[in-house]
């Protein structure tokens, strides 16, 4: 368990690593990685009951990253948690590396292969349902992008999550408001999103998804209501932490130039100094 200050320092460190490995690989989903850093940080450092030593334990908590394209943040956090040596991150995107552009189970710590959107929730529902059937106490978390909610499979899976009263399931929406073409509300409007999830049977908790303390508070309160799946509607900023990447759809999968990278490093260093 980390203190909030320690978590905030971790988020800066993770953002630096993400930008470094994306720049090195010359590919990556920069915007969505940076919007979800704080969520994965809190989950893996303070919430999930899983570690490299317990990854085969049937009672471990599960995390399924449905927005598979934001894989660099997942690799970064798993490396920091000791699932594999951090230097393996340097192989991202290289010929025959396991560290490819979407999560696969060939990387230690990853539960399920994802990448095609709209798949993670159903798999997470299956995992949570198995826990209920077997009376196990593990919890299941899945992170879904907001643009990803265009996929109808999410809503099918939500029906089942509610029907089977999966209060051991926590669905996190990375609500950064942008998808590759532009604003989600221009591409295929989602609002009123919280109401939609409530109507589908979730207990909904809205939170600043870039505020580590607020995220800890939210995750610590699950189940929000007994017998209902949990939905954390995490309002985030796409590209969070680097001024010129924030809220810019073009940074969905843009790679920083040398100059941009230097500016980003400076900004993150300033954030670290402000923290102390």
């Amino acid at each position: 368990m980390l203190t909030d200050v320690e978590l905030k320092a971790k988020s800066i460190e993770y953002r630096e690593t993400i930008l470094r490995i994306i720049k090195q690989a010359r590919a990556g989903h920069t915007g969505g990685d940076l919007s979800s850093v704080d969520i994965l940080n809190v989950l893996y450092n303070n919430i999930l009951r899983v570690s490299p030593e317990t990854f085969a334990d049937p009672d471990r908590d599960r995390y399924v990253q449905s927005k598979g394209h934001s894989v660099e943040v997942l690799y970064t956090v798993l490396a920091d948690r000791g699932f594999f040596p951090a230097q393996e991150l340097d192989t991202l995107g290289q010929y025959q590396s396991h560290f490819i552009g979407h999560p696969t189970r060939s990387v230690p710590g990853i539960e399920q292969n994802t990448g095609a959107l709209g798949h993670g929730l159903a798999v997470a529902v299956g995992m949570a349902l198995a826990a209920k059937l077997d009376r196990r106490s593990y919890r299941v978390y899945t992170l879904i992008g907001d643009g990803e909610l265009d996929e109808g499979s999410n809503w099918e899976a939500s029906l089942a999550a509610s029907h089977y009263k999966l209060d051991n399931l926590t669905v996190i929406i990375d609500r950064n408001g942008l998808q590759i073409t532009g604003r989600t509300e221009d591409v295929n409007p989602l609002e009123p999103l919280a109401d939609k999830f409530r109507a589908f049977g979730y207990a909904v908790w809205e939170v600043d998804g870039n505020d580590t303390q607020a995220l800890i508070d939210a995750f610590s309160r699950t189940p929000f209501e007994t017998g209902k799946p949990n939905l954390v509607l995490a309002h985030t900023i796409k590209g969070k932490g680097v001024s010129f990447i924030e809220n810019a759809a073009k940074w969905h999968h843009r790679v920083p130039t040398d100059e941009e990278y230097a500016i980003a490093q400076r900004e993150l260093q300033q954030a670290r100094e402000q923290l102390s």
Binding site: P58, V64, T104, R105, E111, Q112, N113, T114, G115, A116, H119, L121, A122, V123, A124, V125, G126, M127, A128, L129, A130, A131, L133, D134, S153, E156, A157, L159, A160
Partner: protein, 311 residues
């Protein structure tokens, strides 16, 4: 040939028997327990059936999650929907992720013949053959159906099994064996081999019996496992009988026939060869038997094809 039961009924009985002894077995359905003859199963083992409504993508995705947590899932839904609507879930959530889900395609092929192309599954072998890490099985008769379900009770990797819903003649005798990936010799002969799969096997056997009366002795192989294919049995049949006719309840594109042809073209021997299945056209509708007859999947039709290639 003595008429047996529908393979689907045998599946339902067998999975009930297995599940009764293994609490990790689950049947997952898409409002399809009636079509799958699983109503009795659901009444008998209500804690071991998961109903997901008319949502095939959900059936496969949730089955993958259940399997990852150690459940032995039989995801059961009409073959036409489960292998098309949920194809991406099969490809990614099950095969690519290596979650050992048993996908059961019920009322496969043209079992729902009169309901039209929406309800035909003439694509499933082709689609799934192109997906890495999934075994494809089409049992011929009640024996193969039962043995196939028993054989996949404990598996480490994904498998797809498809059945029809009509009563099927017994093609296996008392001392038969069933091994996934190994063709079963239903009848031996030296003039030609019918390599058939699924519910066309009894038809091929009937054709072989008709031809025997005319002095042509045919081998009949039940190639119940379409992937991985028993290449050795195919090459041996070509070598020993000199001519091959493949028969399947599937499009002629991408199914058993083309799979066998690829083996012989690349490894030899190359022999006279015909693929019997459904042509690339808007299909006629009718009962399974009527559609089979229309496209030459009948004793007479196959005998005619055999005489034509034997010259």
């Amino acid at each position: 040939m003595e008429l047996g039961r529908a393979n689907l009924d045998v599946f339902a009985d067998t999975v009930l028997e297995i599940a009764g002894q293994d609490r990790d077995v689950l049947v997952v359905t898409s409002d399809s327990r009636g079509s799958g003859k699983l109503t009795h199963y659901g009444d008998t083992l209500p804690a071991q059936i998961i109903e997901l409504g008319i949502a095939e993508q959900n059936v496969i995705g949730i089955s993958a999650g259940l399997a990852s947590a150690g459940k032995k899932v039989f995801a059961t839904s009409p073959a036409c929907f489960i292998t098309a609507r949920a194809f991406e879930q099969i490809k990614n959530d099950v095969a690519y992720s290596d979650q050992p889900v048993r996908i059961i395609g019920i009322s496969a092929g043209v079992s729902y013949g009169a309901l039209g192309a929406t309800h035909h599954s003439l694509h499933d072998y082709a689609a799934l053959r192109a997906v890495h890490n999934i075994t494809i099985i089409a049992p011929a008769d009640n024996f193969e159906a039962r043995e196939a379900i028993k054989a996949i009770h404990n598996i480490d990797h994904p498998v797809y099994v498809r059945f029809g819903k009509a009563a099927i003649p017994h093609v296996h005798g008392e001392n038969s064996t069933f091994t996934i990936g190994k063709a079963a010799t239903i009848r031996d002969g030296h003039d030609l081999t019918f390599i058939a799969c699924g519910e066309t096997v009894p038809v091929a056997l009937a054709a072989a019996e008709l031809l025997a009366a005319q002095g042509i002795e045919c081998r009949v192989l039940s190639m119940h496992t379409i992937k991985p294919l028993d290449e050795q049995a195919i090459r041996q049949a070509a070598r020993e009988t000199g001519a091959i006719i493949t028969v399947e309840e599937h499009s002629i594109h991408g199914g058993l026939g083309e799979a066998c042809a690829a083996v012989l073209m690349q490894q030899g021997p190359v022999v006279p060869f015909r693929i019997v299945g459904f042509p690339d056209e808007y299909m006629v509708t009718g009962s399974q038997k009527e559609i089979f007859n229309h496209y030459g999947i009948s004793a007479d039709g196959l005998a005619k094809t055999a005489r034509a290639i034997l010259g």
